[in-house]
Symmetry: C2
Subunit: 192 residues, 2 copies
Amino acid sequence: MRRTQAERSGATTAQLLDAARELFGRDGYAATSIDAVAAEAGMTKGAAYHHFPGKAGLFRAVFVVQQERMAAALEAAAAAEPDPRAALRAGCLTFLERCLDPDFRRIVLLDGPSVLGWETVRAIEYAHTLRVLRAGMTVLHEPDGDGDLTARCQLAFGALCEAGMMLARSDDPARALPVVAAEAERLLGLGR
Amino acid sequence: MRRTQAERSGATTAQLLDAARELFGRDGYAATSIDAVAAEAGMTKGAAYHHFPGKAGLFRAVFVVQQERMAAALEAAAAAEPDPRAALRAGCLTFLERCLDPDFRRIVLLDGPSVLGWETVRAIEYAHTLRVLRAGMTVLHEPDGDGDLTARCQLAFGALCEAGMMLARSDDPARALPVVAAEAERLLGLGR
DNA sequence: CCAGGTTACATACCTTTGGTATGGAAGTGA
DNA sequence: TCACTTCCATACCAAAGGTATGTAACCTGG
């Protein structure tokens, strides 16, 4: 059976990314070996090192995929709401719900900053999740105010991440979601 | 020269903790080897493994020291202000200023959650930094309100950590401090 | 169609490093 | 003084990140 190079490469990288997401998400970055990821994907280390610049590079690729999925989910949720405030509220809910995914929490919230560095992580997020959040908050921000929108977005984002971790830790996330979401919306200036 | 066992142990652990803080803070957890820490402290691995249960255990001890120092600084800052709101404000400033220490940022904000796990980190912080923050916010919290104080503290803490990272990343932290602090105080309900 | 070159991946190997086992030196208590 | 414990160094093991090399699959110009 004759496949083109692009097909081979694409299939291999996709399998590696999927296996890496599963193992990085379940066991964490440090406890996951390249050999294990390659074995899970049905190949050996050589393939991984051929397509990615190293363990951290593979992790970074997985991280970016998570960011893309989050940004898409946020934009979809916001697009369904015509009112800016309602759209921002819906985005909050969507973010918190996606924090219930253990893979997302481990890869994006826990290991990401440590492995990739804070600046790298925020740079990637500014192209995805933080970009959508900023767009939602820009509408509600009156430019004559004294506050700094960038700082406000970033602090709100930190609070949201903490809310996501807190929510996932609770005994009954479904029941805890409203109260956590209420506090998050309050911090975003959506209160009352 | 005859030293008691407690003196030997205490001096050794103190040297190890100091060397570990320096290397963990400068190079990060993953890039720091136990051999390097022991060499920096003027001894070998054996000493480290005798006094600490492993690399993560040593890191945890360093983390706790950082937390103790932060909590002490916060309490000192708050005690100097009779007004509860002013005390909380002063605590914010103190927290942000201590975030300018690269060792603190790397150990507590970046590597801590990844190495120790989120729940362990927050449990330690609830005995130190978060305890002081909660005490400060309890005074301003009217119990008849609908909000959840625990969630509010935690989200505010997440925002503060983000503010600290953002502040340290800025070109001129001294100049950026007021604007970041203003946004942080706004999130804490101290605005206006 | 086919030969040279490139891409994709496997295998073998090196090095670092976390952790353990063992041995000896320093301190302690009777 | 003599057993016993604590403290720390040294020697060793196994796992894992990374590299070098070999080989098979694809591509391209003639």
